[in-house]
């Protein structure tokens, strides 16, 4: 019951959109705008013209049927509410894509369809296959989406606006811009990934892991059409150039032919449908690439016809799976008796697929042939189209005969007809396909014409008829059907040959995807192991090298080392020279120190030497502090570290030389830098102020102390905070109750005891 109630929502939407038909068919357009991010020229604006209206009707109409169907199909699944929510979310996103008037808004909805479809494909997420397929779809369409983003932003920059109808006016200047080709390639990358054009098509058959209602909706009627919609929408902006023709026709034609060929080799119902969908998408892309008024007419009619029949067929496949427990065409059979309504739905859908009059698929095929025939490369293009269609016809025949007519094998379940909610969809879609064919003029006037005008942006009236008389196209149609039937008949014999050609392996981007993924993981792993090895000293080494090279390189390139003045302002006195010598010796001893005594002595000498330097240069406070801190440090060292073992040199000679060189070069750079700074320093801005105000306002005669407690007392406040926290840290480290010592290396503990 609930499914019917929920379906009211998309149904209402369908009626709402249908109410636009008269106005739009009359050549009007409609816009609604909500300001969103005005500073970035991004509005949440919607735009209804023939093209978006047609898409919106398909999305909401089929969506209604899917909700009803899915509600039954997943009736026993506890996550049915998730299905409803995600499907409705997806539907809104999809409507957003086709209705958006602003490029960025369009992109946002575009990405939302990717996200929701990710969740829908992974609906049966306890299966690893479903998770992988969902991820694959998301990665492929997501990458394409990011290319699209770059393309759209560039388009907006070049065209001066994110507003699509405004861009229609800028088409000429956009196509002349040097960025045109990058924009085109990026936009196509987005469209092709989404619409599963080769070589990005592999995610679509993978996505068949989704529950069938989802496949029916997303992967036949709506989401995969988003790429096609994008091409159609952008035809007036980007289309018509040689680059457009080459790229779009190239990808489209290859996809339509190869996918149709692969479809025939499948045995899983849904995979057959998936590849045949890829082929149909290829056809649509191909037609938009050709881009003549006839081709666009063909594209629009085929788009409608494909949405109707493929949606129906997926639902049929779902019903079969649901009732028999298998989708293997070699196993299935004889369902025409047990599932009569479904069978009727299947007949109507496959008939349209095969292009049998009076179904709408027939008109579509005629127009396609008409379009290819008027091209300069007519023979080639028509040939490709005919061949593709033959393969499609063969697939259509297969889809009827194998499950419904042939003898059945061992089925996991014994099939019964599905309830109304499940056969309603296929039948209704079939009838619509039939109606569109029979009432072709009305169909043409109300839907197709406005849609074509939406794509071309050059209003023209259109007369659509089912019957065109005996002409070339009809001949081709007949050849196609006959050829298709023949292919089906000899298919059994052809299959081994097809397999032996190993064409599919060569053309298998799915393997490439897997290899890329594996490669990525390997690279990531290797890189991380290389950089993030965990050895502290090598981290330090890298940091020192980086610093030395950044500072050193800048020093050499941006300054003049020759400007260093060596005659400094203060000469060297004897005791200073001696002190210098002493400290240098102590440093040398420190480096090579093997005993703790030597280490402590080194620290003491250097630290107190530094204190003496402070004293020599007028800094008694500093000297006092340094003496005191030095004493404390040595005490600390003795208390804490003295019990460590003898100082060992663990590194080999080469490592030591390497480290030494790096450290030395850093030291040299610092020396040079300091000399350089001394020779080009500006006079202090602050000293005189401090001297002047220390007594009258700071009330102190020790200027250093006045700075510490008054002029810059804030520093001191922070400094004592540091001290306080350090003390807290030491306290916590030492008093933390721990049982770690027990786990430590026993020999080391012994060593400790001995000391």
């Amino acid at each position: 019951m609930r499914k019917w109630l929920i379906a009211l929502l998309p149904l209402a939407l369908t009626f709402y959109f249908a109410s636009f038909i008269p106005a739009i068919a009359g050549g009007e357009t409609s816009t609604a705008t909500i300001e969103w991010i005005p500073s970035l020229d991004i509005q949440l604006s919607f735009y209804i013209d023939g093209l978006s209206l047609l898409m919106a009707l398909i999305i909401s109409g089929i969506g209604t049927l899917i909700i009803i169907y899915g509600g039954e199909y997943l009736a026993k699944d506890e996550r049915l509410p998730h299905f409803y929510i995600l499907t409705l979310l997806f539907m809104s996103a999809m409507l957003g894509v086709v209705l958006a008037r602003n490029l960025i808004a369009l992109f946002i909805f575009w990405e939302l369809t990717s996200i929701t479809s990710f969740l829908l494909i992974g609906f049966k997420h306890e299966y690893e296959k479903a998770r992988k397929a969902a991820l694959q779809a998301l990665l492929v369409t997501g990458s394409g989406g990011l290319a699209l983003l770059a393309g759209l932003v560039l388009l907006g920059l070049v065209g001066g606006s994110f507003d699509i109808p405004t861009l229609f006016q800028e088409a000429k200047s956009i196509q002349k811009d040097s960025l045109y080709l990058p924009i085109l390639v990026l936009v196509l990358a987005g469209a092709f990934t989404k619409s599963a054009q080769m070589p990005f098509h592999f995610w679509l058959p993978g996505a068949m892991e989704a529950p069938t209602p989802v496949s029916a909706y997303l992967h036949s009627a709506t989401m995969v059409k988003a790429g096609v919609y994008l091409l159609a929408r952008f035809t007036p902006i980007l289309g018509g150039t040689p680059e457009w023709h080459t790229l779009v026709i190239g990808f489209g034609s290859a996809t339509m032919l190869l996918a149709a060929y692969i479809a025939l080799q499948q045995t899983d119902l849904k995979r057959i449908l998936a590849f045949s969908t890829v082929s149909a998408l290829g056809t649509l892309v191909f037609l938009l690439g050709v881009g003549t008024p006839l081709a666009i007419k063909g594209a629009v009619i085929f788009l409608v016809s494909h949405s109707l029949y493929k949606g129906g067929l997926f639902l049929v496949a779902g019903s079969i799976d649901h009732e028999t427990g298998t989708r293997d065409v070699n196993l299935l059979g004889n369902l025409r008796q047990s599932m009569p309504f479904t069978f009727v739905g299947a007949i109507l859908a496959t008939g349209s697929m095969a292009g049998i009059p009076p179904l709408v698929g027939f008109i579509a095929k005629e127009v396609v042939y008409e379009a290819t025939l008027e091209e300069s490369a007519a023979l080639l293009l028509t040939g490709v189209a005919v061949l593709t269609n033959m393969l499609t016809v063969a697939a259509a025949v297969l889809l009827v005969i194998r499950p419904f007519i042939n003898k059945a094998g061992e089925l996991p379940k014994s099939p019964h007809e599905t309830p109304l909610s499940m056969w309603l969809g296929p039948i209704l879609l079939g009838i619509l396909g039939l109606a569109a064919g029979v009432f072709a003029p009305a169909f043409g006037a109300n839907f197709v014409e406005a849609a074509i005008n939406g794509i071309t942006q050059k209003p023209k009236t259109l007369h659509l008829a089912l019957w065109h008389g005996w002409n070339t196209m009809l001949m081709l149609s007949m050849i196609t059907v006959a050829g298709g039937v023949i292919i089906y008949i000899v298919l059994e014999n052809l299959l081994p040959l097809m397999h032996r050609l190993r064409f599919n392996d060569v053309l298998s981007p799915a393997t490439a995807y897997q290899k890329m993924l594996d490669g990525l993981l390997k690279v990531a792993d290797a890189q991380t192991r290389l950089l993030q090895h965990g050895y502290l000293r090598r981290y330090v080494l890298v940091i020192v090298i980086s610093t030395a090279s950044l500072v050193g390189y800048t020093l050499v390139t941006l300054t003049d080392l020759a400007s260093i003045q060596f005659e400094a302002s203060t000469s060297v006195r004897v005791y200073e020279g001696l002190l210098f010598f002493l400290i240098m010796v102590a440093i040398g001893v420190g480096i090579r120190a093997k005993s703790r005594i030597a280490a402590v002595a080194t620290l003491g000498v250097v630290g107190n030497g530094v204190a003496l330097i402070f004293l020599f240069y007028g800094a008694p406070d500093l000297a006092m502090t340094q003496f005191a801190v030095e004493t404390l440090t040595v005490l600390l060292f003795v208390l804490a570290v003295y019990r460590l073992p003898l100082i060992k040199e663990y590194s080999g000679k080469r490592v030591r030389i390497r480290d030494g060189l790096v450290a030395a070069s850093f030291g040299i750079i610092m020396t040079a830098l300091i000399l350089m700074v001394i020779s080009s320093a500006l006079p202090s801005n602050l000293t005189n102020f401090f001297a002047e105000y220390s007594l009258p306002k700071g009330k102190g005669r020790n200027i250093v102390n006045v700075i510490l407690v008054d002029f810059r007392g804030f520093d001191t406040l922070a400094e004592i905070t540091v001290l306080a926290v350090a003390a807290l840290g030491v306290y916590a480290l030492l008093k933390w109750p721990t049982n770690d010592e027990k786990h430590a290396n026993p020999t080391a503990t012994q060593e400790l005891d001995q000391l």
């Binding site: 005191a628 404390l632 009330k699 102390n705 407690v709 008054d710 804030f714 001191t716 030491v730 306290y731």
Partner: protein, 138 residues
């Protein structure tokens, strides 16, 4: 380190030295505003005094002498320091603006920077003692 120092002479010397050093540290603190010295050096000297006492008498004695935990000393010192800064804030001046009393007998001028320096002094004593006592008691 917990053991009492072996030498009686040292012990006695330290006994006299400690009060002297503590006095000296207060002297350093008070004169720091005008002569070399101040909260840091004063605090360090006081800490060294307690440390010497710890060496001669053991750490429990020091804790006894101090009466409060060194960590608390730190907190009090910090509170004094930040409090002295806030006085300015409450009379409408920026944080840490100095306020001075008139000339007081013996002590000279008392101002918030001096109080601040007392805070520093206490923090330094507290920190050094926390670290050293904790290490010595390991």
């Amino acid at each position: 380190m917990n053991n009492k120092a072996q030498s009686l002479i040292l012990s006695t010397a330290i006994h006299y030295l400690v009060p002297l050093l503590l006095l000296f540290s207060v002297f350093l603190l008070m004169r720091g505003h005008n002569e070399p010295g101040g909260g840091f050096t004063g605090g360090l000297v006081a800490a060294v005094a307690f440390e010497l006492y710890a060496i001669s008498e053991g750490t429990p004695k020091v804790r006894q002498l101090l009466r409060i935990k060194p960590l608390e000393l730190i907190a009090i010192g910090l509170a004094i320091a930040v409090g002295s800064g806030m006085i300015g804030l409450f009379v409408g001046d920026p944080f840490m603006t100095s306020l001075w009393s008139g000339e007081l007998p013996l002590l000279g001028k008392i101002g918030t920077p001096v109080i601040f320096d007392v805070g520093v002094y206490l923090v330094v004593i507290g920190v050094v003692l926390t670290v050293m006592l904790a290490l010595a008691e390991e």
